[in-house]
Symmetry: C2
Protein backbone atom coordinates (compact mmCIF):
# COMPACT_ATOMS: atom_id res chain seq x y z
CA UNK A 1 0.00 0.00 0.00
CA UNK A 2 1.16 3.48 -0.82
CA UNK A 3 0.56 6.69 1.10
CA UNK A 4 0.64 10.30 -0.05
CA UNK A 5 0.91 13.63 1.68
CA UNK A 6 0.14 16.87 -0.14
CA UNK A 7 1.22 20.12 1.48
CA UNK A 8 1.38 18.37 4.83
CA UNK A 9 -2.00 16.67 4.64
CA UNK A 10 -2.61 12.97 3.95
CA UNK A 11 -4.49 13.03 0.65
CA UNK A 12 -4.49 11.47 -2.80
CA UNK A 13 -5.86 14.47 -4.70
CA UNK A 14 -4.20 17.55 -6.19
CA UNK A 15 -5.73 20.67 -7.71
CA UNK A 16 -6.61 20.37 -11.40
CA UNK A 17 -4.90 23.77 -11.74
CA UNK A 18 -1.51 22.48 -10.59
CA UNK A 19 1.22 23.58 -12.97
CA UNK A 20 2.90 20.21 -12.50
CA UNK A 21 -0.04 18.66 -14.34
CA UNK A 22 -0.35 21.30 -17.07
CA UNK A 23 3.30 21.91 -17.89
CA UNK A 24 5.43 19.44 -15.95
CA UNK A 25 6.47 22.58 -14.08
CA UNK A 26 8.38 21.08 -11.17
CA UNK A 27 11.06 18.71 -9.95
CA UNK A 28 11.21 15.42 -8.06
CA UNK A 29 13.49 13.19 -6.02
CA UNK A 30 13.29 9.45 -5.43
CA UNK A 31 15.20 7.64 -2.70
CA UNK A 32 15.06 4.74 -0.27
CA UNK A 33 13.91 4.82 3.35
CA UNK A 34 14.97 1.96 5.61
CA UNK A 35 12.64 2.23 8.57
CA UNK A 36 12.83 5.98 9.25
CA UNK A 37 16.35 6.37 7.85
CA UNK A 38 16.33 8.35 4.59
CA UNK A 39 19.22 7.30 2.34
CA UNK A 40 21.41 10.19 1.11
CA UNK A 41 18.81 12.76 2.25
CA UNK A 42 21.23 15.71 2.10
CA UNK A 43 22.36 14.92 -1.44
CA UNK A 44 18.75 14.59 -2.62
CA UNK A 45 17.84 17.89 -0.99
CA UNK A 46 20.85 19.52 -2.67
CA UNK A 47 19.70 18.34 -6.09
CA UNK A 48 16.10 19.37 -5.37
CA UNK A 49 17.38 22.82 -4.43
CA UNK A 50 19.48 23.01 -7.60
CA UNK A 51 16.43 22.03 -9.67
CA UNK A 52 14.20 24.60 -7.96
CA UNK A 53 16.82 27.31 -8.44
CA UNK A 54 17.26 26.44 -12.11
CA UNK A 55 13.49 26.60 -12.68
CA UNK A 56 13.13 29.64 -10.37
CA UNK A 57 10.69 27.76 -8.15
CA UNK A 58 10.92 28.71 -4.45
CA UNK A 59 12.72 25.83 -2.70
CA UNK A 60 10.63 24.32 0.11
CA UNK A 61 12.27 24.18 3.53
CA UNK A 62 14.20 20.89 3.74
CA UNK A 63 13.23 20.52 7.41
CA UNK A 64 9.55 20.75 6.50
CA UNK A 65 10.01 18.11 3.78
CA UNK A 66 11.89 15.94 6.28
CA UNK A 67 9.11 16.25 8.86
CA UNK A 68 6.44 15.42 6.26
CA UNK A 69 8.44 12.45 4.94
CA UNK A 70 8.91 11.04 8.44
CA UNK A 71 5.23 11.50 9.29
CA UNK A 72 4.21 9.79 6.06
CA UNK A 73 6.61 6.89 6.64
CA UNK A 74 5.25 6.42 10.16
CA UNK A 75 1.75 6.16 8.66
CA UNK A 76 2.95 3.86 5.89
CA UNK A 77 4.87 1.57 8.23
CA UNK A 78 1.98 1.38 10.70
CA UNK A 79 -0.53 0.56 7.99
CA UNK A 80 1.73 -2.12 6.48
CA UNK A 81 2.20 -3.64 9.96
CA UNK A 82 -1.50 -4.13 10.41
CA UNK A 83 -2.63 -4.82 6.86
CA UNK A 84 0.25 -6.44 5.03
CA UNK A 85 1.32 -9.61 6.76
CA UNK A 86 2.61 -11.08 3.52
CA UNK A 87 5.69 -8.86 3.54
CA UNK A 88 8.91 -10.74 3.86
CA UNK A 89 10.54 -8.01 5.95
CA UNK A 90 8.89 -7.92 9.33
CA UNK A 91 11.46 -5.89 11.21
CA UNK A 92 13.05 -3.82 8.46
CA UNK A 93 10.57 -1.59 6.62
CA UNK A 94 11.97 -0.55 3.28
CA UNK A 95 10.13 2.06 1.23
CA UNK A 96 10.75 4.15 -1.86
CA UNK A 97 10.00 7.81 -1.18
CA UNK A 98 9.21 10.21 -3.99
CA UNK A 99 9.08 13.95 -3.32
CA UNK A 100 7.54 16.15 -6.01
CA UNK A 101 7.70 19.94 -5.85
CA UNK A 102 5.69 21.91 -8.40
CA UNK A 103 5.21 25.64 -9.03
CA UNK A 104 1.75 25.18 -7.48
CA UNK A 105 -1.62 26.18 -8.88
CA UNK A 106 -1.88 28.91 -11.47
CA UNK A 107 -4.14 30.53 -14.00
CA UNK A 108 -4.12 29.47 -17.67
CA UNK A 109 -0.86 30.40 -19.41
CA UNK A 110 2.81 29.46 -19.22
CA UNK A 111 4.00 32.56 -17.37
CA UNK A 112 4.87 31.72 -13.75
CA UNK A 113 2.57 33.49 -11.28
CA UNK A 114 4.02 36.55 -9.55
CA UNK A 115 3.57 34.88 -6.18
CA UNK A 116 4.14 31.15 -6.00
CA UNK A 117 2.83 28.73 -3.41
CA UNK A 118 4.65 25.55 -4.34
CA UNK A 119 2.90 22.19 -4.10
CA UNK A 120 4.74 19.60 -1.97
CA UNK A 121 3.90 15.97 -2.64
CA UNK A 122 5.49 13.19 -0.62
CA UNK A 123 4.68 9.64 -1.66
CA UNK A 124 5.81 6.40 0.00
CA UNK A 125 5.75 3.17 -1.99
CA UNK A 126 6.74 -0.33 -0.88
CA UNK A 127 10.29 -1.14 -2.03
CA UNK A 128 10.19 -3.05 -5.34
CA UNK A 129 10.71 -6.78 -5.14
CA UNK A 130 13.90 -6.90 -7.26
CA UNK A 131 15.29 -10.42 -7.71
CA UNK A 132 18.61 -11.03 -5.94
CA UNK A 133 20.05 -12.30 -9.24
CA UNK A 134 19.92 -8.75 -10.65
CA UNK A 135 22.86 -8.05 -8.34
CA UNK A 136 24.63 -11.40 -8.59
CA UNK A 137 24.11 -12.26 -12.28
CA UNK A 138 23.54 -8.82 -13.76
CA UNK A 139 20.71 -7.40 -15.85
CA UNK A 140 19.95 -6.93 -19.52
CA UNK A 141 19.62 -3.57 -21.30
CA UNK A 142 17.94 -2.58 -24.54
CA UNK A 143 19.06 0.29 -26.75
CA UNK A 144 16.18 2.72 -27.21
CA UNK A 145 15.18 4.45 -30.42
CA UNK A 146 13.60 7.33 -28.50
CA UNK A 147 16.17 10.12 -28.39
CA UNK A 148 16.96 12.42 -25.51
CA UNK A 149 16.72 16.04 -26.60
CA UNK A 150 19.39 18.50 -25.51
CA UNK A 151 18.81 21.62 -23.47
CA UNK A 152 21.51 22.76 -21.02
CA UNK A 153 18.86 24.67 -19.04
CA UNK A 154 17.10 21.41 -18.13
CA UNK A 155 20.16 19.12 -18.01
CA UNK A 156 21.28 17.50 -14.79
CA UNK A 157 18.15 18.27 -12.77
CA UNK A 158 15.21 15.91 -12.18
CA UNK A 159 12.35 17.91 -13.68
CA UNK A 160 8.86 16.67 -14.46
CA UNK A 161 9.12 16.77 -18.28
CA UNK A 162 9.69 13.05 -18.71
CA UNK A 163 7.84 12.07 -21.87
CA UNK A 164 11.06 10.88 -23.51
CA UNK A 165 11.66 8.40 -20.69
CA UNK A 166 8.03 7.25 -20.87
CA UNK A 167 8.23 6.68 -24.63
CA UNK A 168 11.60 4.93 -24.29
CA UNK A 169 10.31 2.52 -21.63
CA UNK A 170 7.36 1.75 -23.88
CA UNK A 171 9.72 0.36 -26.52
CA UNK A 172 10.37 -3.08 -25.00
CA UNK A 173 8.02 -5.80 -23.80
CA UNK A 174 10.59 -8.43 -22.82
CA UNK A 175 10.44 -8.52 -19.01
CA UNK A 176 14.09 -9.69 -18.94
CA UNK A 177 15.09 -6.17 -20.02
CA UNK A 178 15.29 -3.90 -16.98
CA UNK A 179 16.33 -0.62 -18.56
CA UNK A 180 17.12 0.97 -21.91
CA UNK A 181 20.08 3.03 -23.09
CA UNK A 182 19.17 6.45 -24.45
CA UNK A 183 21.23 8.42 -26.97
CA UNK A 184 21.08 12.06 -28.05
CA UNK A 185 20.56 13.06 -31.68
CA UNK A 186 24.33 12.80 -32.31
CA UNK A 187 24.12 9.12 -31.28
CA UNK A 188 26.05 9.79 -28.11
CA UNK A 189 25.16 7.72 -25.07
CA UNK A 190 23.60 9.83 -22.29
CA UNK A 191 22.00 7.53 -19.72
CA UNK A 192 19.37 4.85 -19.32
CA UNK A 193 15.68 5.68 -18.87
CA UNK A 194 15.88 5.44 -15.07
CA UNK A 195 19.59 5.10 -14.32
CA UNK A 196 23.07 6.39 -15.11
CA UNK A 197 25.47 4.17 -17.03
CA UNK A 198 29.21 3.47 -16.65
CA UNK A 199 31.67 1.13 -18.25
CA UNK A 200 35.20 -0.05 -17.69
CA UNK A 201 37.75 -0.47 -20.48
CA UNK A 202 41.36 -1.35 -19.63
CA UNK A 203 40.71 -0.57 -15.98
CA UNK A 204 39.46 2.96 -16.77
CA UNK A 205 35.96 4.12 -15.83
CA UNK A 206 33.84 5.93 -18.43
CA UNK A 207 30.50 7.67 -18.04
CA UNK A 208 28.62 10.14 -20.27
CA UNK A 209 28.82 13.92 -20.01
CA UNK A 210 25.46 15.20 -18.74
CA UNK A 211 25.88 18.93 -19.30
CA UNK A 212 23.42 19.02 -22.21
CA UNK A 213 20.93 16.37 -21.19
CA UNK A 214 20.42 13.61 -18.65
CA UNK A 215 20.03 13.49 -14.88
CA UNK A 216 23.01 13.86 -12.54
CA UNK A 217 22.24 10.94 -10.25
CA UNK A 218 23.00 11.04 -6.55
CA UNK A 219 24.40 7.51 -6.82
CA UNK A 220 26.45 8.64 -9.84
CA UNK A 221 28.11 11.31 -7.69
CA UNK A 222 28.83 8.66 -5.04
CA UNK A 223 30.29 6.28 -7.63
CA UNK A 224 32.53 8.98 -9.10
CA UNK A 225 33.74 9.92 -5.63
CA UNK A 226 34.42 6.27 -4.82
CA UNK A 227 36.21 5.76 -8.13
CA UNK A 228 38.49 8.64 -7.22
CA UNK A 229 39.23 7.07 -3.84
CA UNK A 230 39.99 3.81 -5.65
CA UNK A 231 42.38 5.80 -7.88
CA UNK A 232 40.52 4.70 -10.98
CA UNK A 233 41.06 6.86 -14.05
CA UNK A 234 37.66 8.48 -14.82
CA UNK A 235 36.68 9.85 -18.23
CA UNK A 236 33.44 11.84 -18.56
CA UNK A 237 32.62 12.58 -22.18
CA UNK A 238 30.65 11.79 -25.30
CA UNK A 239 30.79 8.18 -26.48
CA UNK A 240 29.04 5.99 -29.03
CA UNK A 241 27.58 2.50 -28.76
CA UNK A 242 30.73 0.96 -30.22
CA UNK A 243 32.73 2.33 -27.24
CA UNK A 244 30.25 0.83 -24.82
CA UNK A 245 30.02 -2.51 -26.61
CA UNK A 246 33.82 -2.81 -26.57
CA UNK A 247 33.95 -2.31 -22.78
CA UNK A 248 35.15 -4.99 -20.36
CA UNK A 249 32.42 -4.24 -17.80
CA UNK A 250 29.21 -2.22 -17.81
CA UNK A 251 27.06 -1.13 -14.85
CA UNK A 252 24.07 1.11 -14.17
CA UNK A 253 23.00 2.91 -11.02
CA UNK A 254 20.13 4.78 -9.45
CA UNK A 255 19.07 5.77 -5.95
CA UNK A 256 16.57 2.94 -5.55
CA UNK A 257 18.40 -0.22 -6.64
CA UNK A 258 21.97 1.05 -6.17
CA UNK A 259 24.23 -0.64 -8.74
CA UNK A 260 23.42 -3.45 -11.14
CA UNK A 261 26.06 -5.11 -13.33
CA UNK A 262 25.11 -5.53 -16.99
CA UNK A 263 25.09 -9.06 -18.41
CA UNK A 264 23.76 -8.15 -21.86
CA UNK A 265 23.03 -5.18 -24.11
CA UNK A 266 20.53 -6.41 -26.68
CA UNK A 267 22.30 -9.46 -28.17
CA UNK A 268 25.75 -8.57 -26.85
CA UNK A 269 26.72 -10.49 -23.74
CA UNK A 270 28.86 -8.88 -21.05
CA UNK A 271 30.82 -10.25 -18.10
CA UNK A 272 30.57 -8.92 -14.57
CA UNK A 273 34.01 -7.58 -13.78
CA UNK A 274 36.15 -6.78 -10.73
CA UNK A 275 35.67 -2.98 -10.86
CA UNK A 276 31.89 -3.33 -10.83
CA UNK A 277 32.06 -5.81 -7.95
CA UNK A 278 34.35 -3.54 -5.95
CA UNK A 279 32.09 -0.49 -6.51
CA UNK A 280 28.99 -2.54 -5.56
CA UNK A 281 30.68 -3.82 -2.42
CA UNK A 282 32.01 -0.44 -1.30
CA UNK A 283 28.69 1.34 -1.92
CA UNK A 284 26.59 -1.28 -0.16
CA UNK B 1 -15.00 32.11 -12.89
CA UNK B 2 -13.62 28.91 -14.30
CA UNK B 3 -15.18 25.47 -14.31
CA UNK B 4 -13.58 22.04 -14.63
CA UNK B 5 -14.85 18.60 -15.49
CA UNK B 6 -12.74 15.53 -14.83
CA UNK B 7 -13.79 12.27 -16.46
CA UNK B 8 -17.29 13.65 -16.86
CA UNK B 9 -17.70 14.92 -13.31
CA UNK B 10 -17.55 18.58 -12.22
CA UNK B 11 -14.51 18.66 -9.95
CA UNK B 12 -11.31 20.57 -9.36
CA UNK B 13 -9.22 17.64 -8.08
CA UNK B 14 -7.19 14.98 -9.87
CA UNK B 15 -5.47 11.88 -8.51
CA UNK B 16 -1.97 12.47 -7.15
CA UNK B 17 -1.01 9.37 -9.17
CA UNK B 18 -1.92 10.93 -12.51
CA UNK B 19 0.88 10.46 -15.03
CA UNK B 20 0.17 13.93 -16.37
CA UNK B 21 1.47 15.30 -13.07
CA UNK B 22 4.45 12.96 -12.70
CA UNK B 23 5.74 12.90 -16.28
CA UNK B 24 3.76 15.39 -18.35
CA UNK B 25 2.41 12.22 -19.95
CA UNK B 26 -0.41 13.61 -22.03
CA UNK B 27 -1.62 16.15 -24.57
CA UNK B 28 -3.88 19.19 -24.58
CA UNK B 29 -5.90 21.45 -26.85
CA UNK B 30 -6.97 25.06 -26.32
CA UNK B 31 -9.68 26.77 -28.35
CA UNK B 32 -12.45 29.34 -28.21
CA UNK B 33 -16.13 28.73 -27.54
CA UNK B 34 -18.59 31.42 -28.58
CA UNK B 35 -21.75 30.53 -26.68
CA UNK B 36 -21.94 26.79 -27.36
CA UNK B 37 -20.09 27.00 -30.69
CA UNK B 38 -16.66 25.41 -30.46
CA UNK B 39 -14.25 27.04 -32.91
CA UNK B 40 -12.42 24.60 -35.23
CA UNK B 41 -13.49 21.62 -33.10
CA UNK B 42 -12.72 19.03 -35.79
CA UNK B 43 -9.20 20.34 -36.36
CA UNK B 44 -8.48 20.34 -32.61
CA UNK B 45 -9.78 16.79 -32.29
CA UNK B 46 -7.58 15.76 -35.22
CA UNK B 47 -4.48 17.15 -33.53
CA UNK B 48 -5.49 15.62 -30.18
CA UNK B 49 -5.83 12.27 -31.95
CA UNK B 50 -2.44 12.70 -33.63
CA UNK B 51 -0.87 13.51 -30.25
CA UNK B 52 -2.48 10.51 -28.55
CA UNK B 53 -1.37 8.22 -31.39
CA UNK B 54 2.18 9.56 -31.24
CA UNK B 55 2.33 8.98 -27.49
CA UNK B 56 0.39 5.69 -27.76
CA UNK B 57 -2.30 6.98 -25.42
CA UNK B 58 -5.81 5.65 -26.22
CA UNK B 59 -7.68 8.51 -27.90
CA UNK B 60 -10.87 9.44 -26.03
CA UNK B 61 -14.07 9.41 -28.06
CA UNK B 62 -14.47 12.86 -29.63
CA UNK B 63 -18.25 12.69 -29.09
CA UNK B 64 -17.73 12.11 -25.39
CA UNK B 65 -15.33 15.09 -25.19
CA UNK B 66 -17.86 17.17 -27.14
CA UNK B 67 -20.68 16.25 -24.76
CA UNK B 68 -18.52 17.03 -21.71
CA UNK B 69 -17.36 20.34 -23.18
CA UNK B 70 -20.93 21.38 -23.95
CA UNK B 71 -22.12 20.39 -20.47
CA UNK B 72 -19.29 22.32 -18.87
CA UNK B 73 -19.94 25.41 -20.99
CA UNK B 74 -23.63 25.30 -20.05
CA UNK B 75 -22.59 25.31 -16.38
CA UNK B 76 -20.00 28.04 -16.96
CA UNK B 77 -22.37 30.27 -18.93
CA UNK B 78 -25.18 29.83 -16.38
CA UNK B 79 -22.90 30.67 -13.49
CA UNK B 80 -21.51 33.76 -15.24
CA UNK B 81 -25.08 34.90 -16.04
CA UNK B 82 -26.01 34.97 -12.40
CA UNK B 83 -22.74 35.97 -10.83
CA UNK B 84 -20.81 38.10 -13.31
CA UNK B 85 -22.79 41.16 -14.28
CA UNK B 86 -19.64 43.12 -15.01
CA UNK B 87 -19.02 41.26 -18.27
CA UNK B 88 -19.20 43.46 -21.33
CA UNK B 89 -20.78 40.71 -23.43
CA UNK B 90 -24.25 40.03 -22.14
CA UNK B 91 -25.54 38.06 -25.07
CA UNK B 92 -22.36 36.55 -26.47
CA UNK B 93 -20.54 34.29 -24.00
CA UNK B 94 -16.95 33.79 -25.05
CA UNK B 95 -14.81 31.20 -23.25
CA UNK B 96 -11.45 29.55 -23.69
CA UNK B 97 -11.74 25.78 -23.44
CA UNK B 98 -8.75 23.63 -22.56
CA UNK B 99 -8.96 19.86 -22.93
CA UNK B 100 -6.21 17.79 -21.32
CA UNK B 101 -5.89 14.05 -21.92
CA UNK B 102 -3.35 12.15 -19.83
CA UNK B 103 -2.31 8.50 -19.68
CA UNK B 104 -4.26 8.34 -16.42
CA UNK B 105 -3.16 7.09 -13.03
CA UNK B 106 -0.30 4.65 -12.74
CA UNK B 107 2.15 3.04 -10.37
CA UNK B 108 5.64 4.49 -9.82
CA UNK B 109 7.84 4.20 -12.90
CA UNK B 110 7.94 5.54 -16.44
CA UNK B 111 6.62 2.42 -18.20
CA UNK B 112 3.06 2.97 -19.42
CA UNK B 113 0.58 0.66 -17.65
CA UNK B 114 -0.57 -2.37 -19.63
CA UNK B 115 -4.16 -1.14 -19.44
CA UNK B 116 -4.73 2.59 -19.62
CA UNK B 117 -7.73 4.52 -18.38
CA UNK B 118 -7.01 7.99 -19.70
CA UNK B 119 -7.87 11.06 -17.64
CA UNK B 120 -10.07 13.60 -19.45
CA UNK B 121 -9.96 17.15 -18.13
CA UNK B 122 -12.14 19.86 -19.65
CA UNK B 123 -11.65 23.39 -18.33
CA UNK B 124 -13.56 26.53 -19.31
CA UNK B 125 -11.99 29.92 -18.64
CA UNK B 126 -13.43 33.39 -19.38
CA UNK B 127 -12.00 34.75 -22.64
CA UNK B 128 -8.98 37.00 -21.91
CA UNK B 129 -9.60 40.72 -22.05
CA UNK B 130 -7.17 41.48 -24.91
CA UNK B 131 -7.00 45.17 -25.85
CA UNK B 132 -8.44 45.98 -29.27
CA UNK B 133 -5.18 47.78 -30.14
CA UNK B 134 -3.37 44.41 -30.21
CA UNK B 135 -5.24 43.83 -33.49
CA UNK B 136 -5.20 47.40 -34.84
CA UNK B 137 -1.73 48.58 -33.78
CA UNK B 138 0.10 45.27 -33.39
CA UNK B 139 2.02 43.74 -30.48
CA UNK B 140 5.62 43.59 -29.34
CA UNK B 141 7.76 40.43 -29.16
CA UNK B 142 10.88 39.60 -27.19
CA UNK B 143 13.55 37.15 -28.34
CA UNK B 144 13.98 34.46 -25.70
CA UNK B 145 17.24 32.98 -24.51
CA UNK B 146 15.54 29.73 -23.50
CA UNK B 147 16.07 27.29 -26.35
CA UNK B 148 13.61 24.81 -27.75
CA UNK B 149 15.10 21.33 -27.77
CA UNK B 150 14.64 19.10 -30.80
CA UNK B 151 12.94 15.73 -30.83
CA UNK B 152 10.98 14.69 -33.92
CA UNK B 153 8.96 12.24 -31.76
CA UNK B 154 7.46 15.13 -29.80
CA UNK B 155 7.40 17.76 -32.57
CA UNK B 156 4.15 19.15 -33.90
CA UNK B 157 1.91 17.78 -31.14
CA UNK B 158 0.71 19.67 -28.07
CA UNK B 159 2.12 17.51 -25.28
CA UNK B 160 2.34 18.39 -21.59
CA UNK B 161 6.15 18.74 -21.40
CA UNK B 162 6.16 22.52 -21.50
CA UNK B 163 8.95 23.62 -19.18
CA UNK B 164 10.78 25.38 -22.01
CA UNK B 165 7.76 27.58 -22.68
CA UNK B 166 7.39 28.29 -18.95
CA UNK B 167 11.04 29.29 -18.62
CA UNK B 168 10.88 31.40 -21.79
CA UNK B 169 7.80 33.32 -20.58
CA UNK B 170 9.61 33.96 -17.31
CA UNK B 171 12.30 35.92 -19.17
CA UNK B 172 10.46 39.21 -19.62
CA UNK B 173 8.66 41.47 -17.17
CA UNK B 174 7.64 44.28 -19.53
CA UNK B 175 3.86 43.95 -19.85
CA UNK B 176 4.04 45.52 -23.33
CA UNK B 177 5.66 42.30 -24.56
CA UNK B 178 2.97 39.75 -25.39
CA UNK B 179 5.06 36.82 -26.57
CA UNK B 180 8.66 35.71 -27.10
CA UNK B 181 10.39 34.18 -30.11
CA UNK B 182 12.07 30.83 -29.40
CA UNK B 183 15.02 29.43 -31.33
CA UNK B 184 16.54 25.96 -31.45
CA UNK B 185 20.18 25.29 -30.58
CA UNK B 186 21.17 26.09 -34.19
CA UNK B 187 19.69 29.59 -33.70
CA UNK B 188 16.86 28.81 -36.08
CA UNK B 189 13.50 30.41 -35.37
CA UNK B 190 10.85 27.84 -34.42
CA UNK B 191 7.85 29.61 -32.92
CA UNK B 192 6.81 31.89 -30.07
CA UNK B 193 6.08 30.55 -26.59
CA UNK B 194 2.33 30.40 -27.23
CA UNK B 195 1.95 31.10 -30.94
CA UNK B 196 3.27 30.36 -34.41
CA UNK B 197 5.16 33.04 -36.31
CA UNK B 198 5.13 34.16 -39.97
CA UNK B 199 6.70 36.94 -41.92
CA UNK B 200 6.38 38.48 -45.37
CA UNK B 201 9.35 39.52 -47.47
CA UNK B 202 8.81 40.72 -51.05
CA UNK B 203 5.23 39.48 -50.94
CA UNK B 204 6.31 35.93 -50.02
CA UNK B 205 5.14 34.26 -46.80
CA UNK B 206 7.70 32.50 -44.57
CA UNK B 207 7.16 30.32 -41.50
CA UNK B 208 9.46 27.92 -39.65
CA UNK B 209 9.70 24.19 -40.29
CA UNK B 210 8.22 22.36 -37.27
CA UNK B 211 9.29 18.81 -38.03
CA UNK B 212 11.89 18.72 -35.23
CA UNK B 213 10.27 20.94 -32.62
CA UNK B 214 7.37 23.29 -32.13
CA UNK B 215 3.60 22.95 -32.22
CA UNK B 216 1.67 22.71 -35.49
CA UNK B 217 -1.03 25.23 -34.69
CA UNK B 218 -4.59 24.80 -35.92
CA UNK B 219 -4.61 28.50 -36.90
CA UNK B 220 -1.25 27.97 -38.65
CA UNK B 221 -2.86 25.30 -40.85
CA UNK B 222 -5.72 27.71 -41.61
CA UNK B 223 -3.30 30.54 -42.48
CA UNK B 224 -1.27 28.30 -44.78
CA UNK B 225 -4.45 27.14 -46.52
CA UNK B 226 -5.62 30.72 -46.89
CA UNK B 227 -2.20 31.83 -48.19
CA UNK B 228 -2.48 29.16 -50.87
CA UNK B 229 -5.93 30.42 -51.84
CA UNK B 230 -4.48 33.94 -52.03
CA UNK B 231 -1.75 32.52 -54.30
CA UNK B 232 0.97 33.71 -51.98
CA UNK B 233 4.31 31.98 -52.34
CA UNK B 234 4.89 30.04 -49.07
CA UNK B 235 8.30 28.95 -47.82
CA UNK B 236 8.52 26.64 -44.81
CA UNK B 237 12.08 26.22 -43.62
CA UNK B 238 14.86 27.10 -41.21
CA UNK B 239 15.58 30.80 -40.80
CA UNK B 240 17.63 33.03 -38.51
CA UNK B 241 16.75 36.24 -36.71
CA UNK B 242 18.36 38.32 -39.48
CA UNK B 243 15.83 36.90 -41.99
CA UNK B 244 12.97 37.80 -39.67
CA UNK B 245 14.28 41.27 -38.85
CA UNK B 246 14.64 42.03 -42.58
CA UNK B 247 10.98 41.14 -43.24
CA UNK B 248 8.39 43.65 -44.45
CA UNK B 249 5.66 42.29 -42.15
CA UNK B 250 5.55 39.91 -39.19
CA UNK B 251 2.54 38.24 -37.56
CA UNK B 252 1.81 35.58 -34.95
CA UNK B 253 -1.20 33.32 -34.47
CA UNK B 254 -2.83 30.96 -32.05
CA UNK B 255 -6.27 29.46 -31.56
CA UNK B 256 -7.30 31.89 -28.84
CA UNK B 257 -6.41 35.35 -30.16
CA UNK B 258 -6.33 34.49 -33.87
CA UNK B 259 -3.75 36.72 -35.61
CA UNK B 260 -1.82 39.68 -34.19
CA UNK B 261 0.43 41.87 -36.33
CA UNK B 262 3.87 42.58 -34.89
CA UNK B 263 4.83 46.21 -34.31
CA UNK B 264 8.20 45.53 -32.67
CA UNK B 265 10.70 42.75 -32.00
CA UNK B 266 12.81 43.96 -29.08
CA UNK B 267 14.10 47.35 -30.28
CA UNK B 268 13.29 46.73 -33.95
CA UNK B 269 10.09 48.40 -35.09
CA UNK B 270 7.88 46.79 -37.71
CA UNK B 271 5.02 48.05 -39.87
CA UNK B 272 1.68 46.33 -40.21
CA UNK B 273 1.45 45.33 -43.86
CA UNK B 274 -1.22 44.47 -46.42
CA UNK B 275 -0.66 40.68 -46.36
CA UNK B 276 -1.16 40.56 -42.59
CA UNK B 277 -4.30 42.69 -42.86
CA UNK B 278 -5.73 40.53 -45.61
CA UNK B 279 -5.06 37.31 -43.65
CA UNK B 280 -6.59 38.83 -40.50
CA UNK B 281 -9.67 39.94 -42.40
CA UNK B 282 -10.19 36.66 -44.24
CA UNK B 283 -9.73 34.56 -41.09
CA UNK B 284 -12.05 36.68 -38.94
Amino acid sequence: MSEYMINGVISDQVSVLDRGLHYGDGVFETFVAINDQLQHWDAHMQRLTLGCKRLKIPTPDANLLLKETQELLATQNNSSETSDRSTSTKLVKKNVVKIVVTRGVGARGYKPPTTTQVTRIVAAYPFPDYPERYYSEGVKLAVCETQLSCNPLLAGIKHLNRLEQVMAQDEWEDSAIVDGIMLNSDQHIIECTMSNIYWVTNNQLYTPDLSNCGVEGVTRANILKLAEELQLSITIGYFCMKDLLAADEVMISNSVFGVWPIRAIDQHNKQIGPVTLEIMQKLA
